[in-house]
C-alpha cells in the first residue's frame, strides 16, 4: 500500500463517526481534531515530494507529483479551516439554520469531498480525473441543500444540472483526446497524461483543438469561468458557511488543476496557441465581468462568491500563460483568503442573523475582532499588500505585460481595480456603518479564530515570496503533465 493512501484515513474516520454518532457534540470534536491531524498527515506526505523527493505512482492511475502535493496541502488547510469553524459555529445548530442531523451530515459529506478532491489533484489519467471530478460534484450537491430552504434547493438543482452538463462535455473532451491519438497505435495507455504529453506533437490537431474547447467548457464550468459560472454564486451563497469554504477553497481548484494538466498536453503540441489565444482571454474576460457584477451585490456571501469567479479568472490567465509559480501561489493565496472570508460570513450570519449587505452595519462596534478580521479577509481576498494575493496578482500582470498581451493586461487591470473598490466599499459599510438595531444572534469570539489563523497564513505566504522562492517553486512544480 502506498503511503499517500494514508491521507484517506482521517477523513474516513470523521465520515464514519458522523454517520455513527447521534450526538453532534462528539462529531464536532472528532471533526476538528481529525481535520488538524489531516494537516499534519498531509505535511508528512507532501513536503518530501515538494522537497524534490520521489514522485510515486499508486493505484495505477494516480501519482503524487509536485502540483498534486501542493494542492493537497491547500485542500487540507481549507478542510481544517472549514471543520474547525463548523465545530465552533455549530454549538447550537439552530443558530445557523441547521439541525443536529444536517450538522452531522455536513461533517461527513465534507470529509468525503476531501477524498474526492485529493483524488482529482493526484489523478495521472484523464479517465480517473473525470471520475474523481464527478464524485466531487456528487458529494457537494447535498451540502448545498442542507439548510433546506427553497433557495438552497434551487441552488443545488442548478449546480447538479449545470455541472453535470459541464462535466459531460469534459467527458466528450476526454473521448476526443483519446480519438486524436488513435493513429499512433496507442494501447490503453492513451488516457495517461504523461503518455499524451510525450506524444503531443503527433496528436491529430483538429481533434485535439476540439477536445481542448470541450475541456475548457467542461472543467471551466466546474471552476466557474465566465460565461459558464452561473451555478457558482447561488451554490456558494446558499451552502452553510463551512460548505462554502470547501466549495470556494478546494472545489474550484479542482477544475483549475484539471485545466492545468490538460494545458500541459496542449503546451507541447502544435496547437499551443490555444492557451494564450483561448484560455487566457477567457480568464481576463472573467475577471472583468466578475468585477462589474461585484459592484451591484446585495449579499455578503454572494459578494465573496463573485470574487471567487474573479480569482478563477486570474488563475485561468496564469494557466493560459503557463506560469507554474504564479498559478500555485495565487491558488494558495485565494484558497486561504477566501476560506477565511467565508468562515467569517458564517460568524456574521450567526451573530447578526443576516448576510444581506443592506441590513448589516456597524460590525466593528458590536464585535471588534470580527470587524477587524472581516476587513483583513477582504484585503487578503482582493490582493492588498502584504497578503499573498498581492504578490501573485502583481506577478501575473508583469508576466502578461512581458508577453505583450495588451488586451489581457487592460482587462485585468480594469477588473481588479473595479472589484477592489467595490468590495472595499461594501465591506466598509458593513464594518464601519452606523450601528444596526437588529442584533439577534448569540455572541461568541471563538469561531473567528480559524479565519484569523488562515489570514495570518496568507500574510506570511505573501511576505515569503522572493525570487529564490519563486525559482524553487518553478523547479519543483515544473511539469503540469505527470512525469
Amino acid at each position: 500500500m502506498n503511503y499517500a493512501l494514508t491521507l484517506c484515513v482521517c477523513p474516513l474516520i470523521v465520515a464514519a463517526c458522523a454517520l455513527a454518532f447521534r450526538n453532534l457534540k462528539w462529531v464536532r470534536l472528532i471533526g476538528a481534531v481529525g481535520s488538524l491531524l489531516q494537516v499534519v498527515a498531509t505535511a508528512v506526505v507532501a513536503v518530501p515530494v515538494l522537497g524534490g523527493g520521489a514522485q510515486t505512482k499508486f493505484l495505477a492511475a494516480f501519482q503524487m507529483d509536485g502540483i498534486a502535493a501542493w494542492f493537497i496541502l491547500i485542500n487540507s488547510l481549507v478542510y481544517a479551516g472549514a471543520m474547525t469553524t463548523a465545530a465552533l459555529l455549530f454549538q447550537n445548530p439552530e443558530d445557523v439554520h441547521l439541525t443536529e442531523r444536517t450538522g452531522r451530515a455536513l461533517f461527513g459529506l465534507s470529509s468525503l469531498f476531501l477524498i474526492a478532491a485529493n483524488a482529482v489533484m493526484c489523478a495521472a489519467d484523464l479517465g480517473a480525473l473525470w471520475v474523481a471530478m464527478e464524485a466531487s460534484t456528487l458529494v457537494t450537491a447535498p451540502i448545498i441543500l442542507l439548510t433546506g430552504t427553497r433557495q438552497s434547493i434551487e441552488a443545488a438543482w442548478k449546480y447538479l444540472i449545470l455541472c453535470g452538463v459541464g462535466i459531460a462535455f469534459a467527458l466528450l473532451g476526454t473521448m476526443m483526446l483519446m480519438a486524436s491519438a488513435q493513429h499512433i497505435g496507442a494501447e490503453a495507455s492513451s488516457l495517461s497524461i504523461a503518455w499524451l504529453r510525450n506524444h503531443a506533437a503527433s496528436l491529430n490537431s483538429p481533434l485535439l483543438r476540439a477536445s481542448f474547447v470541450f475541456f475548457v467548457l467542461g472543467y471551466g464550468t466546474k471552476a466557474g469561468l465566465f460565461p459558464v459560472h452561473n451555478w457558482l454564486p447561488d451554490a456558494h451563497s446558499e451552502a452553510p458557511a463551512p460548505g462554502s469554504v470547501l466549495l470556494s477553497g478546494a472545489l474550484l481548484n479542482c477544475g483549475m488543476v484539471a485545466l492545468w494538466r490538460i494545458g500541459g498536453i496542449v503546451e507541447v503540441s502544435n496547437s499551443r496557441f490555444l492557451l494564450p489565444g483561448l484560455l487566457a482571454p477567457m480568464g481576463a474576460v472573467t475577471v472583468l465581468a466578475a468585477g462589474l457584477m461585484l459592484v451591484q451585490q446585495r449579499d455578503l456571501k454572494r459578494m465573496f462568491a463573485y470574487s471567487s469567479v474573479e480569482n478563477m479568472g486570474l488563475l485561468a490567465v496564469a494557466v493560459g500563460l503557463r506560469s507554474v509559480p504564479i498559478f500555485a501561489l495565487h491558488a494558495l493565496a485565494h484558497s486561504l483568503a477566501k476560506s477565511s472570508a467565508f468562515s467569517l460570513s458564517g460568524c456574521v450570519a450567526k451573530e447578526f442573523g443576516t448576510v444581506a449587505l443592506s441590513k448589516l452595519s456597524g460590525v466593528m462596534r458590536q464585535s471588534p475582532s470580527l470587524g477587524f478580521a472581516l476587513l483583513a479577509a477582504g484585503g487578503a481576498v482582493m490582493g492588498a499588500p502584504p497578503f499573498a494575493a498581492f504578490a501573485s496578482e502583481w506577478l501575473l500582470l508583469a508576466k502578461a505585460a512581458d508577453g505583450r498581451y495588451v488586451w489581457i493586461v487592460i482587462a485585468l487591470v480594469a477588473g481588479l481595480a473595479i472589484s477592489f473598490v467595490a468590495v472595499l466599499l461594501h465591506l466598509g459599510r458593513v464594518v464601519f456603518g452606523e450601528r444596526s438595531e437588529r442584533v439577534t444572534g448569540a455572541r461568541s469570539q471563538w469561531p473567528v479564530i480559524p479565519a484569523i489563523v488562515l489570514i495570518v497564513a496568507t500574510a506570511i505566504a505573501g511576505l515569503a515570496v522572493t525570487p529564490s522562492v519563486l525559482n524553487a517553486l518553478e523547479r519543483v512544480l515544473r511539469y503540469g503533465g505527470v512525469q
Binding site: A61, G127, A135, A156, V165, Q182, H183
Partner: protein, 211 residues
C-alpha cells in the same frame, strides 16, 4: 460493421423520436431503447471478436442505462405524478424538425470529429445525439425532462467513445457508469425536495435566486 451502423441508426432514431413526444413514460421507453442500442455496441463487438471484457461492459451498460435508470426515473415520475411534460419555446413538431436538421448536418460534417481510420458517419451521428440531448434539455419545462435530456446527451458521448476510440480502461468505464447512476439517484432525490418545497416541478418557474 453493419450491425454497428444499424445500432447507431436505432440510437439516433430513438433520440429523434424523444424530441417529438411529451409523455414521460414514452420518453423513458425511448431512453431505454437508446441505452440498449448503446450497450449492444460493445456487446456484439465483444462477441464477434471474442473479447470477454467488452461483453461484460456491454452487459453493464445495458443494465445501467437501459434498465436501472429508466425504471428508477419511471418510479420517480409515478411517485411525483408527472405524466406529461410540456415544451417551452418550440413545440414538439418543430423540435423534431430541428433534430432532423441536426442529424443531417452532423452526418455530413462527421469527418471533422472522426478519429483516423474510424467511420465519419458514426462520429456524426453521435454528435447529433449529443445535440438532440441538449435540445431536449432546452425545450422541456419539467425537471424530469431535463434529466432525460441530460441522459440522451450522455448516451451520445458514449456512442462517440465506443465508435471512435478503443474504449477506456474497464475500471474507468465502470467508474463513469457508477458516477452517472449515482448522479441520477441524487437528481431524483432533489426532485422530491423540489416538489415538497415548491409544490410544482416546473424548472422554468424556479426564480428564487437572482443574478
Amino acid at each position: 460493421m453493419t450491425t454497428n451502423q444499424d445500432l447507431i441508426g436505432i440510437a439516433t432514431m430513438a433520440a429523434l423520436w424523444m424530441l417529438g413526444i411529451t409523455r414521460v413514460r414514452s420518453m423513458l421507453w425511448g431512453l431505454a431503447v437508446l441505452g440498449g442500442a448503446l450497450g449492444a455496441l460493445p456487446l456484439f463487438g465483444g462477441i464477434s471478436q471474442g473479447h470477454g471484457g467488452e461483453v461484460l461492459l456491454g452487459v453493464v451498460v445495458i443494465t445501467v442505462k437501459a434498465v436501472a435508470v429508466p425504471i428508477f426515473l419511471n418510479w420517480n415520475a409515478a411517485r411525483l405524478q408527472m405524466t406529461r411534460d410540456r415544451t417551452v419555446g418550440i413545440g414538439p413538431g418543430a423540435a423534431m424538425l430541428v433534430g432532423a436538421t441536426l442529424v443531417v448536418l452532423c452526418y455530413f460534417h462527421g469527418n471533422r470529429f472522426a478519429a483516423v481510420g474510424a467511420s465519419a458517419g458514426d462520429a456524426g451521428f453521435s454528435i447529433a445525439i449529443i445535440a438532440i440531448g441538449l435540445t431536449i434539455m432546452m425545450t422541456r419545462r419539467l425537471a424530469v425532462g431535463l434529466i432525460i435530456g441530460f441522459l440522451v446527451l450522455d448516451n451520445g458521448i458514449f456512442v462517440y467513445g465506443f465508435t471512435q476510440t478503443p474504449g477506456m480502461p474497464f475500471i474507468v468505464e465502470l467508474g463513469v457508469l457508477f458516477d452517472l447512476f449515482l448522479g441520477v439517484l441524487l437528481a431524483g432525490f432533489v426532485l422530491f425536495r423540489i416538489r415538497r418545497s415548491f409544490e410544482h416541478l416546473d424548472v422554468s418557474e424556479m426564480r428564487e435566486l437572482r443574478g
